[in-house]
Symmetry: C2
């Protein structure tokens, strides 16, 4: 029998009203029960995962793919601990973000409420299933989870544990549902359900995200690539600058908040570039430098398309700029609005940088790697949005809410 996307999504929608009115205590009880159930069923989850992993190996998937897919007891414990960590976060629902009184005596406030039904689309990491489910539940949202086909059995086993936790405290099992098929047609049908599903958050490669954006009729919060720059301004503390670029590039090159390009003011290039190059090369970083930078360091000559490129490996583009305006122009042209950093001791320029650079996170004298929900103090993140609508940057619990106006009067009319 074919999958009925509308009926499935409507069953999720039906659970939304229960979650809107669920108390913090009820949601926390559910999260505790979900974490317990993950621990209790860890052997079964691991067994199902083994089948997924063997299938992926037979299908010739590479080692990095297999590593993302594998769930052992330790990783399942980490998933349960992450659910517990979300439980410990403050409940955003009902939070009053602003309040004021009108001349006619009306008391107005803005109050957070859940978004409704959130569709998460992701690839091979099965821990996203429990992470996303926990964040959605804590923020009163129903989660529809659509993982990759390679992790389907693992996800099914995780879903089953999470639903056991939900029903044990009397919340509807449909509050968290895995899409029961992984074909593209089913995903396409879900993406058309404007008015039934409130938001889609795709996480994965750029191809997946573009496919979702192209085909969705429901709102999508996008997470495109991170082409992050570190700009070393002429007043920079060069020791700080060196430490930051090395960390931003080399600490974990495969992630979206890693730096891809170093910009250095011409007046300090002779001082800074040689020492930076030495430190970066010691970490195995390949430098691709444009002509002016090549005067100061040995490096591969950069091609035009090395700027604006997300390498996601130990490669860094290097460019000498003629001061602040030139750096800003380069970032505006080649940046992806993800994370941009300046190293400077000039407070006025730091202020202009934070104001004039459009990026989800703007760093002053700090590594780009801090653009992460955990590092920023959100407790956990469901993704990083690179578009400005609804949420920009790391999305935690608050970014999974909307705000309504609440107006209290004493019989006022217009």
């Amino acid at each position: 029998m074919s999958f009925d996307a509308r009926a499935f999504a409507l069953s999720s929608r039906g659970a939304a009203r229960a979650l809107v009115s669920a108390t913090t205590q009820k949601k926390d009880d559910a999260l505790a029960a979900m974490a317990s159930a993950l621990r209790k069923h860890s052997a079964r989850i691991a067994a199902e995962n083994t089948v997924d992993v063997n299938d992926a190996k037979s299908a010739g998937k590479n080692a990095a793919f297999i590593d993302r897919l594998v769930l052992d007891e330790q990783r399942i414990e980490a998933m349960a601990a992450a659910v517990d960590a979300v439980r410990a976060l403050p409940d955003p629902i009902g939070e009053v973000t602003e309040r004021w009184t009108r001349p006619n005596g009306l008391r107005v406030r803005k109050e957070r409420l859940p978004l409704g039904v959130v569709l998460m689309i992701y690839e091979s990491r099965p821990n996203v299933t429990s992470d996303a489910a926990a964040l959605c539940l804590k923020s009163g949202n129903v989660a529809i989870l659509r993982g990759g086909s390679e992790s389907f059995r693992s996800n099914r086993a995780i879903e089953s544990a999470l639903q056991e936790g939900l029903t044990s405290v009397g919340l509807p099992r449909e509050s968290i549902q895995l899409v029961p098929t992984t074909d593209r047609e089913s995903m396409l049908e879900l993406l058309k359900l404007d008015g039934v599903i409130d938001l889609c958050i795709p996480r994965g490669g750029e191809g997946l995200i573009r496919f979702v954006v192209e085909n969705a009729r429901i709102p999508v919060v996008k997470h495109y690539q991170g082409v992050c720059h570190v700009y070393v301004e002429k007043t920079a503390d060069l020791e700080v600058a060196e430490r930051i670029i090395v960390n931003a590039k080399a600490s974990r090159p495969g992630v979206c908040n890693a730096a891809e390009c170093l910009l250095v003011d011409a007046s300090i290039a002779a001082d800074f570039l040689p020492r930076a190059a030495k430190a970066l090369k010691a970490k195995g970083v390949e430098l691709r430098a444009e002509e002016r930078a090549l005067q100061f360091i040995e490096a591969i000559p950069a091609k035009a398309d090395d700027f604006g490129r997300e390498f996601l490996e130990l490669i860094l583009a290097v460019k000498v700029v003629d001061g602040f305006e030139d750096a800003l122009a380069h970032i505006a042209k080649f940046g992806s609005e993800h994370t941009e950093a300046i190293v400077t001791r000039d407070d006025a320029l730091a202020k202009r940088f934070t104001r004039e650079v459009t990026a989800s996170a703007v760093m002053v004298n700090a590594s780009t790697r801090f653009n992460d929900g955990g590092e920023l103090g959100l407790g956990a993140e469901i993704g990083i949005s690179t578009s400005r609508l609804h949420a920009f940057g790391a999305m935690g619990l608050k970014e999974l809410t909307a705000q309504k106006y609440v107006v209290e009067g004493d019989g006022q009319i217009r």
Copy 2:
């Protein structure tokens, strides 16, 4: 020559960087100059409008349509005054909404920035051209304005005055642009420009909005219909309840925040319905009551589809409910998440109503008609969103912004 939507939108995008870094003073100077230019060129605007109006009359448009289209000197003065009023509002850009410090000493804050390029699509009211332009400019956004074909000459004359104001203070004229054609194909092309245009706000009939939602690949903030309820709970002050339902239904029945349905608790129906019916009928309201309500009042028997219907005229559906839960279930089933009101003296129930009802504005002992940017104190509104993504309810200047993370450190790395 055909219209090149991408080139046109890119010319708007080019203006965006100038607006991101424009100071409050510069934007206010521009708004003052825009208002002056509207006043200075009012005769020309009125003359162009006369041509539009005559064409519309020849095309057989009805009186209500013509009334929305007409611009006389008084209405042009009102447009200029509205631009001045936006100028007087606080600049949302750069506002810090939250700030905190991390254990590693990083100082994190969330700061408002413009959305970028906003596409307004609207129908026959030419005053929207200057209203939307002013709100976008004050919030640092570039406006692309796509009005109806019937008001094209009026809009052109208004655009010309607004651009005169912009350039007189040195801001790019492309900060505010009218789409130079009004065919549907051009609109369709603009709606596909994900990455160039950041947001589309359609205002007009449901057909227009559905067309935009169906075809857009850029984010859309929707404004669907308002099916607003007034629920008179058993502890209500009946005098207050009568005043509110009469105001909510009869003060301006053609607008989205007018009430369409009255719900009354069974235990007070005998007391309340006759007096409410009398007051409503005195205002010319036709009542359509379901069976139980017909025991207490003379009215037209309601058909099933009279519930959940936006009449937009002096017609009100009436239903007796069995207490709070029954009222909530009715609202959840038939409401449009626009505006919902309760009349009650029970504080606990009022609190539950504000928490559990999903609507862009929830009213306690106040008329639904207060769901309006001006009445809520936003100063002006660019629309009312009925979807929960990005903004929910009345959208003022703040709702035309995004927020980025700004992180200040002293050389921190991860």
